[in-house]
């Protein structure tokens, strides 16, 4: 309630008495002065193709930038488009250095507060559509606005998720866990490529505000995962928009990867409890409408250090075994143990074993078998093992081969869903 009043108060003060607003564009930022100007220029150019500038408001939610990001946005937006600035972390709140939400996928701390601010303003202004784009993108073009806005404005779609053309093994966390698991759970073939840009209807923005995900345990996890999950689980009209290539600033080290994994997977596990009634009865999956150019697999990517990944898996097996013994079912562990003896080149993590592993982690999360942050982070070496296996299986093949392996994995997740549902009921 306080947040609602504060954010809306800030925006109303800056915009004054404004007429009917159709579209809200949200830009969450944190020290993005280097990249934000082209982003704003592309947004401006894109909006001019979709709707009149008078019916648009750009809201920047800044997490306390020290490099003049809001000023850069103001300058780039110019007088044609109305802009408002929200300091969403200004009220003495800042995520602690060891908390899960200390970092987000986009590098913006407390990213969920930025989204909450956009949805609050969207609800107050009763906008028809809301678009959120990341400020650290280097590949955002004016076409993005059309892809993200038109389905909402013209076709009555509630949610447009981003779909990117990515290099061969990019987004392997999405491809190995998030996409197959959510597809098996909710029956929608959404690629769950998080971050970049989203399109929402005003109705969905209001729905998000009513969900119990902004505070408490849910707020600790990455917002990107649950934005899509809530839209799918609430039976909203969902779609995907192909946005071309995604190039953004920032890379991840080992520790950051485990944090990222805990955020993304934790959000999915957390919502499994809230939407148990929805996913328990769902079987199979169906494709969702896609807008923009047709999706195509990406080209060869950068170097992938498979040996390092296998070493990471094997170290996990050596050091985290007592923790995995608590989480994994004995038959799953029996399948994993022999993988510790395999040479890097021969290393394979079978799809069925991987599915069983993820389902065991979901069950252990549900049963609170371990402190949840520890449980989620202890999945990292196993994830590295599965990713290494994916690379080793497909590196001699074409990009289409990678897509085929991902599709097979998704089907395995769907086929083995009874393993999860049966155990979930009795846990």
């Amino acid at each position: 309630m306080t947040m609602t009043k504060t954010v809306w108060g800030q925006v109303r003060e800056q915009l004054g008495d404004i007429g009917k607003i159709e579209v809200l564009v949200g830009i969450p930022t944190f020290n993005n002065a280097k990249t934000v100007e082209p982003v704003v220029n592309a947004v401006k150019a894109g909006l001019s193709k979709v709707c009149p500038p008078a019916s648009v408001v750009v809201v920047n939610a800044d997490a306390g930038s020290q490099d003049g990001t809001p000023e850069t946005i103001k300058q780039a937006a110019g007088p044609d488009i109305r802009t408002a600035f929200v300091q969403h972390l200004a009220d003495g709140f800042f995520p602690g250095p060891i908390s899960l939400h200390a970092l987000s996928e986009s590098g913006v701390p407390g990213r969920e507060h930025a989204f909450r601010a956009f949805f609050t303003v969207a609800e107050e202004l009763q906008v028809q559509a809301c678009v959120v784009v990341d400020a650290n993108l280097r590949s955002l073009t004016s076409d993005w606005m059309e892809v993200l806005l038109r389905p909402v404005i013209e076709k009555g779609v509630d949610f447009v998720a981003p779909l990117f053309r990515r290099a061969r093994y990019e987004g392997s966390l999405t491809n190995c866990i998030i996409y197959p698991l959510s597809r098996a759970l909710y029956g929608k073939q959404m690629r769950y490529q998080s971050g970049g840009g989203y399109g929402f209807s005003g109705k969905l923005a209001s729905l998000y505000l009513t969900k119990n995900v902004w505070e408490g345990e849910g707020a600790h996890y990455g917002i990107d995962s649950w934005l899509t999950t809530v839209a799918v689980a609430e039976s909203c009209e969902v779609s995907q928009g192909f946005l071309g290539t995604k190039i953004h600033d920032g890379t991840l080290t080992g520790i950051e990867l485990s944090l990222l994994l805990a955020q993304a997977v934790g959000a999915l596990f957390h919502l499994m409890e809230a939407y148990q009634d929805v996913w328990e009865g769902s079987t199979g999956s169906s494709p969702v409408p896609q807008f923009g150019p047709p999706y195509e697999p990406g080209p060869e990517g950068g170097a992938v250090n498979v040996e390092r990944m296998v070493r990471g898996f094997q170290q996990g097996l050596r050091d985290l075994l007592p923790i995995w013994e608590i989480i994994l079912a004995p038959e799953t562990l029996a399948g994993i143990l022999p993988l510790g003896l395999v040479e890097a080149e021969e290393f394979r993590f079978p799809a069925a074993l991987w599915v069983q592993t993820i389902y065991d982690f979901a069950l252990a999360y549900h049963e609170k078998a371990l402190y949840r942050e520890h449980l989620l982070k202890s999945l990292t070496p196993l994830y590295l093992g599965r990713t290494a296996s994916l690379v080793l299986e497909t590196r001699a093949g074409t990009p289409e081969d990678v897509e085929r392996v991902i599709e097979t994995l998704c089907e395995t997740f769907e086929r083995m869903k009874p393993y999860l549902t049966q155990r979930w009921r009795f846990s």
């Binding site: 392997s172 990222l260 990517g301 078998a369 402190y371 990292t380």
Partner: protein, 233 residues
């Protein structure tokens, strides 16, 4: 003569009977207290077990690694059973001391007041020990997972170091709380902890300067070492 003898006998018998009648309740009191102690201890134990089960205390202990710590010490029972047994013995001993006090012996005079005076320290020490073990396991587990994820080969060593550091600190606090050789405990703890830190500092300075340099460079300059270039999300 016979009357005097008779009176003396009767007097002695009466005296003894009176003394026995006077002492017997005192002898019966400890037995009654023991019986009451058994019953009250059993009741408290059952009550504790029910409450702890209702709050899923064993699951909580498992989550924080206390269950595995107990198993490592050879305890076959769950944490809730252990607390149940402790509460039984605590209540039983209280009643037993009341029984001893009822005997009104000079040797045990003021024993109850001493015991009751010591009870808060005892409870504080038990609580300190409990939370200390929880914290030690929790911190060690967190360190182990993070160091394994960062692919630091000495992950288990670091985790054990943290676990034992917290345990030693807890033990020192418990002993200080109980008032057992306060000065010696504080001095021993300071020497041990200071010694460990000195050894580590010398070890890093002499042997691990390159490792420390690499780690700091990776942390502060974000230097890429054997890092793949893929984005996971």
């Amino acid at each position: 003569m016979s009357i005097l003898w008779q009176e003396a006998m009767l007097e002695a018998f009466r005296e003894t009977t009176l003394r026995i009648a006077h002492v017997l309740p005192k002898l019966l009191a400890p037995l009654t207290f023991l019986a009451l102690g058994l019953a009250a201890g059993w009741l408290v134990k059952i009550l504790f077990l029910r409450v702890l089960r209702a709050f899923r205390f064993d699951a909580l202990c498992e989550r924080f690694g206390l269950g595995s710590s107990l198993a490592k010490t050879g305890m076959q029972q769950s944490a809730s059973h252990l607390i149940g047994r402790l509460s039984f013995w605590l209540v039983f001993l209280l009643f037993a001391f009341m029984g001893i006090e009822a005997l009104d012996l000079t040797a045990t005079a003021n024993m109850m007041s001493v015991i009751i005076g010591f009870l808060p320290h005892m409870l504080a020490a038990v609580l300190l020990l409990f939370f200390g073990v929880l914290l030690a396991n929790f911190s060690a587990e967190a360190a182990l997972i993070d160091t394994v994820n960062a692919q630091i080969q000495e992950a288990r060593l670091i985790a054990n170091f943290i676990r034992w550091g917290v345990l030693i600190f807890t033990a020192a606090m418990v002993l200080t709380q109980l008032g057992i050789a306060k000065e010696i405990v504080v001095a021993a703890f300071s020497i041990t902890f200071g010694g460990i830190m000195l050894v580590l500092a010398i070890a890093v300075g002499l042997v691990g300067q390159n490792i420390a340099k690499d780690v700091l460079e990776q942390r502060l300059r974000r230097r890429k070492v054997e890092q793949d270039e893929m984005s996971h999300i």
